[in-house]
């Protein structure tokens, strides 16, 4: 009698504990999903920041002057994207005093 009662009680407790554990796991997963959503937002923002920084570093305003003064070491790409290369460089043509000849 007592053995049966104890067994049922243990079973009930076990089921309850399992339920709690599953509930806890569900909650953890929900939290992880939520975290991923916020992380996605953060990554998107990080992407925007890095893109902005890259654009800032390569703005024509900051590159054109040194390029025209010959301060930037230029290396022509081995496989240029464009085939219609300039017959005269920006450096040569950008100087107002550059009379031809």
């Amino acid at each position: 009698m007592f053995f049966r009662f104890g067994s049922v009680l243990c079973l009930i407790v076990l089921i309850a504990l399992s339920g709690t554990a599953i509930e806890k796991q569900v909650l953890q997963l929900k939290r992880a999903i939520t975290h991923q959503q916020y992380r996605l937002d953060a990554l998107l923002d990080s992407h925007v920041r890095l893109r902005l920084e890259a654009q800032r570093l390569g703005t024509p305003a900051s590159l054109l002057g040194p390029l025209e003064r010959g301060e930037l070491p230029l290396e022509r790409p081995k496989k240029p994207v464009r085939t219609d290369l300039r017959s005269h460089s920006l450096k040569d043509q950008s100087q107002p005093s550059g009379t031809p000849g």
Partner: protein, 586 residues
């Protein structure tokens, strides 16, 4: 079998036992009734209360779209940032809080204390918006009282190219509303649509779950691609800076257009401002003078009149006009030329920019034809460019014209135009006679067909337009008033203009001039057209468009031609080596 006697006495008498059972039963009954009350009758009330404590709806702001140039270079983008607010009603010691947060935010503790005290009954008070990362970290480290403060996510607009095309792009104010330029005109496209989400939080206020119900995903703003090319724009901006330094005018503007399709490659104005620091901008710098300044075009208007006269058969290409040795009486009015010209061919009337020659052409054409010519080339109405604040210029109704108008209109007087209207009219001559609506937006994501929609109006025949460009306008640069715009290796055409400034009461401002120069290349197939307008140069009394504006326009044109891989003619390059130094001055 005998029955065994019951040795145990009963604990409770049957009466007592019934009483206990009844009490326990009643207890269960009461508990059951309470359970029904809580779970059944008052279920919604308590569920609502619990939900209110556990869940809340947060608004998710949509990220505004980017503005890029025709090559995809970033002109404006959006970064997320945080803003600090206080809940004054939950603050007991305003002074202490103010002193704590004032230093890291660079604010005055006294004024902050006053601000909190004055608003002590409010639930929400902005302290500083769009904080830097350092400021956010500093505030977090302060351990301010819980519930009395918070951060709110906001977006900040960044303009990585700085002052480049500031008036064209405009800016977004602190509330994310577009002000001026593309930001204002395409505000609804760029802005996007805010969303909302319901989140569940734990007892400490941390979000534990984003719930699916009531969720509205924010729709990010669309990107807008402009026709501008930042490099060409930079050439224009640099030349305007040089003009401001050299001639110290009140203002100046420059436009570079592709005459074949009306694409604006550059549109610059001085004075200007940095949209990243709008608080430092002067009131004059906000105006986009390329579309919102009106002035008399002067001689730059003459080619349109001559081309229409030719088209109507009123003028012949090979005819000549006697320019009366610099003085010509027209009714009660005596007209003068800068030089005493005698007989000038039609080409030379434009090359020498003879006012008397043009007045005689005006007499030949009559007011009606003059008015039709001006209207045909788009004067007196907006061009329709996708920018706010464009002015239509001034072209008075024909009935208000007098005999004075017959002489004045052909010289580019009694008519007012914006720089954009003028270059659009010249683009019509350069592309063979089609008046193309200028455009600044190449494409937006929403409307991919935007790039295809074109509006053109025929003006004069291709032959007439080509003749004007290849002969008089090219000669202007080769041997006329625009010699300073010669570019080694290219056949350039152009026209100078010098006009008195208009006063607000409709008259002229004595001694104040607007100098302009429009030029394009290559003559054989014009790919670029540049206009520079200089308002009231103040150095050395020099006002002539051929001297003040022409070098800047030519410099912009030359650099843009090379950048756009429009190769120079090698034969012309060699010939240019023999130009005298006084002939080529940049």
């Amino acid at each position: 079998m005998s029955k065994l006697p019951n040795t145990r006495e009963p604990v409770l008498s049957p009466v007592r036992a019934r009483l206990v059972v009844t009490i326990i039963g009643l207890g269960w009954l009461i508990l059951s009734a309470r359970l029904i009350q809580l779970q059944g009758v008052q279920r919604d009330k308590f569920a609502g209360k619990a939900e209110q404590q556990r869940e809340y709806v947060e608004e998710t702001t949509a990220r505004a779209g980017d503005i890029v140039d025709r090559q995809g270079r970033l002109l404006a983008t959006t970064l997320s940032t945080r803003s600090l607010y206080l809940v004054p009603v939950k603050i007991s010691n305003a002074r202490m809080i103010a002193e704590a947060i004032a230093a890291p935010l660079g604010l005055s503790a006294d004024s902050l204390t006053e601000k909190i005290t004055v608003n002590s009954q409010r639930q929400f008070l902005w302290i500083k918006r769009r904080l830097t990362e350092t400021e956010i970290t500093a505030i977090r480290q302060l351990s301010l009282p819980k519930g009395a403060w918070g951060f709110r996510d906001e977006y900040r607009r960044e303009y990585p190219q700085g002052v480049v095309a500031a008036q064209v792009i405009g800016l977004r104010d602190i509330d994310g509303v577009g002000r001026g330029g593309i930001e204002e005109r395409f505000d609804s496209t760029l802005r996007g649509q805010n969303g909302k989400r319901r989140v569940a939080r734990d007892s400490r206020g941390h979000v534990i779950e984003i719930l699916d119900k009531d969720q509205q995903i924010p729709v990010p703003g669309q990107n807008v691609r402009l026709t501008l090319d930042v490099v060409v724009q930079l050439y224009a901006e640099r030349e305007l800076d040089q003009v401001m330094k050299e001639w110290q005018p009140e203002s100046c503007s420059a436009i570079v257009i592709d005459p074949t399709n009306g694409d604006i490659l550059a549109m610059a104005t001085r004075p200007t401002f940095n949209p990243n620091r709008p608080q430092e901008a002067s009131p004059e710098s906000w105006k986009n003078r390329a579309i919102a300044d009106i002035y008399e075009p002067g001689s730059t208007f003459k080619p349109m009149i001559v081309s229409y006269g030719l088209e109507e058969g009123v003028l012949q290409r090979d005819e000549s006009f006697h320019c009366q040795n610099g003085e010509y009486r027209m009714g009660r009015r005596v007209l003068h030329d800068h030089h005493r010209y005698g007989l000038l061919s039609l080409t030379d009337v434009l090359v020498k920019s003879s006012n008397i020659g043009m007045a005689k052409i005006g007499e030949r054409m009559g007011n009606e034809r003059l008015e039709r010519a001006a209207t045909l080339f788009g004067f007196g109405r907006k061009t329709g460019i996708e920018l706010p604040g464009e002015l239509p210029g001034i072209l008075r109704p024909l009935k208000q014209w007098t005999s004075y108008s017959t002489g004045s209109i052909p010289m580019g007087h009694e008519i007012a135009t914006t720089p954009l209207q003028l270059i659009t009219a010249h683009a019509a001559l350069a592309n063979g006679g089609e008046l193309v609506r200028p455009r600044i937006v190449l494409q937006d994501q929403q409307d991919s067909t935007y790039a295809i929609s074109r509006m053109t109006t025929p003006t004069v025949s291709r032959e007439t337009a080509r003749w004007i460009v290849e002969h008089p306008m090219q000669e202007v640069v080769v041997r006329g008033t625009g010699k300073k715009a010669r570019i080694p290796g290219y056949h350039v055409f152009g026209k100078t203009g010098t006009a008195q400034c208009l006063s607000e009461d409709g008259g002229y401002v004595h001694g104040k001039y607007i100098s302009s120069f429009v030029c394009g290349a290559p003559v054989e197939s014009p790919r670029l057209l540049t206009l520079v307008v200089v308002n009231q140069s103040s150095v050395g009394g020099e006002t002539f468009g051929g001297k003040v504006a022409a070098p800047a326009a030519a410099n912009i044109l030359r650099q843009a031609l090379v950048y756009l891989r429009i190769s120079p003619d090698e034969q012309l390059l060699r010939a240019a080596a023999n130009w005298n130094d006084d002939q080529i001055e940049f």
